[in-house]
């Protein structure tokens, strides 16, 4: 089995983001960037399936600027076999990314595509579902457990009511939720080894798909700030305020 893992470079999850004063977006200059956490979970899962003998090859792909090479090297250091960078400098949105991935799937013919359920920058939660639609494949979104076997893959999903298990025909697209696994720490020798692993680059235009954005962001603003509250000294005071002042109990 071959697994393709698309990954995205985003602002590091620990960075406190700030909105640019001119409302054009979020400040990304001189901000620490990293692999989107859900993508890291996807890479980890693919590597674990390989380590368990259920997959032969784990291929990473990222679409974006040359800087995406950093996150691909990170994934290679985690244990992926090789990587592909689709270079595109313009703004990308989920539908365009899904089309690019569809073209990559056409070249690579994976049995399983595992990707993060959402990126922590745009919070779209779309790309995996769109890719599955374009390919006409089954989808297992928000996975907390992935069990391949016998031409099918069993996916346990985190849904609003609890957990749901589906059995998908392969090839399939699976998107990862938080509790699927805990990504490993990378050891220094693996970082060195990752530098020698194959990383191919192709120009986005060469895929022959429409990457152009469909949505335009006209403004980005700070959300309304909650006015500072008060400290109460005791449980009695708290209950009194909730009852007599806020009148919520």
């Amino acid at each position: 089995m071959k697994i393709l893992v698309p990954v995205k470079r985003t602002i590091d999850a620990n960075v406190r983001v700030s909105v640019r004063k001119d409302g054009s977006g979020v400040e990304t200059a001189n901000v620490k960037m990293a692999m989107n956490p859900f993508c890291e979970i996807a890479v980890e899962e693919a590597i674990r399936l390989k380590e368990a003998g259920q997959a032969e090859e784990v291929v990473l792909v990222s679409i974006g600027t040359a800087k995406c090479e950093e996150v691909l090297r990170h994934g290679l250091a985690m244990g992926a076999d090789r990587a592909l960078l689709v270079e595109a400098d313009a703004e990308l949105q989920p539908l365009g990314v899904a089309k690019a991935l569809q073209a990559v799937v056409g070249k690579e013919s994976p049995d399983l595509v595992i990707l993060g359920k959402q990126a922590i920058d745009d919070d779209n939660n779309q790309t995996g579902q769109m890719l599955a639609a374009l390919l006409g494949w089954a989808q297992g979104t928000f996975a907390s457990k992935i069990e391949p076997g016998d031409g099918r893959v069993k996916v346990t999903r985190e849904v609003d009511g609890g957990l749901e298990t589906l059995s998908l025909t392969m090839p399939a697209v699976v998107t990862t939720d938080l509790r699927l696994n805990e990504p490993r720490y990378i050891k220094l020798p693996n970082i060195m080894k990752a530098k020698k692993k194959p990383l191919d680059k192709i120009a986005g235009d060469e895929l022959g798909v429409d990457l152009s954005p469909r949505l335009s962001v006209t403004a980005v603003a700070e959300p309304p700030v909650r006015s500072g509250g008060v400290r109460v000294e005791s449980v009695e005071e708290l209950v009194d305020k909730l009852h007599n002042e806020a009148k919520v109990i």
């Binding site: 406190r16 909105v19 989920p94 539908l95 359920k117 922590i120 920058d121 919070d123 779209n124 939660n125 779309q126 790309t127 579902q129 769109m130 599955a132 006409g136 494949w137 089954a138 989808q139 297992g140 979104t141 069993k154 999903r157 985190e158 849904v159 609003d160 009511g161 609890g162 957990l163 749901e164 298990t165 589906l166 059995s167 998908l168 025909t169 939720d177 509790r179 954005p213 469909r214 949505l215 335009s216 962001v217 006209t218 403004a219 980005v220 603003a221 959300p223 909650r226 509250g229 400290r231 000294e233 449980v235 009695e236 708290l238 209950v239 305020k241 909730l242 806020a246 919520v248 109990i249």
Partner: protein, 313 residues
């Protein structure tokens, strides 16, 4: 302009998540159609026809629609959307799973998790875990939108009298099969619609200690939530999680107990009307958003809180 809303349901009851989506739909056009796709779900179609503001209910009843699988529903939604200017669903795990598949089949973008309709083609949505609000314009001929349910008032569930029309089922795709569902059984109000929510974090320390919250939840008729840390630690199931990637709640009263207040958690609850934080760490970021903060050991504060509730008239 005709607006299609995909109804979430379990073949027996219409989910309350549909009601705010109908409100958003009403801001986009007068011709609001609810699509009910399921199996033996006539009761849901009946409930859908009673929702105020709904003009038409499309009912598609077939065995392969029983479990709400995206692979089965997406082609049907595309069919039902013929001539519509908008396709909406609540931004629940149901809507999040289904609608991007529909958008891709229609070759249009999706605008996720809208919190405001500015005009027919401009919407506001949170990004970066709610740390920024983006105003987004869609130029696509059909606009596919998921709706944050806490951001729109629910439409009335009664008073409407929409006609129910049968919609012929699209053929079964057969790509995926439902295996099982493990849902938490609870007599408590639903987390996303409860008037009061009490949530616990890692500070609770064990699954057993969540019982301290249950006692108070019983008295306030509250739903129980949790931070990611508490879910990851296995204190409570995943469906308790409030936050960027869990449930978004906006109750009248939100009580955060032993929760430090990571931005990912704040993203899920900061629109609550009144926020109470109980934490022994006075530096915890949760206090920055709390209307009432109590620096205290929760193991002393919770029993005291419970008895103080008893003495209210």
């Amino acid at each position: 302009m005709s607006v299609l809303v995909v109804a979430e349901h379990d073949n027996r009851r219409l989910s309350t998540s549909v009601l705010p989506a109908v409100t958003a739909a009403g801001q986009l056009g007068d011709e609001v159609t609810l699509l009910v796709a399921g199996h033996d779900c006539g009761a849901v179609a009946e409930a859908a026809s009673a929702v105020a503001g709904v003009k038409r209910v499309l009912l598609a009843d077939a065995p392969h629609f029983e479990h709400g699988l995206a692979e089965e529903l997406a082609p049907l939604v595309v069919k039902a959307a013929e001539g519509a200017g908008y396709v909406l669903a609540p931004a629940t795990t149901f809507g999040k799973n289904l609608l991007p598949r529909v958008a891709a089949l229609l070759d249009v973008a999706q605008v996720s998790d809208i919190v405001k309709v500015v005009s027919g083609d401009i919407f506001v949505r949170p990004v970066y875990a709610g740390n920024a609000l983006a105003t987004v314009r869609s130029a696509d001929p059909v606009k596919v939108l998921t709706v944050r349910t806490t951001a729109f008032d629910p439409a009335a569930g009664a008073g409407g009298s929409a006609a129910v029309e049968e919609l012929e089922a699209t053929p079964a795709a057969g790509l995926s099969e439902f295996v099982e569902r493990q849902f938490s059984e609870s007599e408590r109000p639903d987390l996303t619609t409860a008037r009061v929510v009490i949530s616990g974090g890692r500070g609770l320390g064990t699954a057993e200690n969540f019982k301290l919250l249950e006692d108070i939840a019983d008295k306030l008729d509250a739903a129980i939530g949790a931070s990611r840390a508490a879910v990851d630690a296995g204190y409570v199931p995943n469906d308790y999680q409030v936050g960027q990637t869990g449930k978004i709640v906006a109750p009248e009263l939100y009580i955060a107990v032993g929760i430090s207040g990571a931005i990912q958690h704040l993203a899920g609850m900061k629109d609550s009307k009144v926020i109470v934080a109980i934490n022994k760490d006075e530096e915890a970021p949760i206090f920055e958003v709390a209307d009432y903060g109590l620096v205290a050991d929760l193991f002393e504060a919770l029993p005291a809180f419970s008895s103080a509730l008893d003495s209210l008239d």
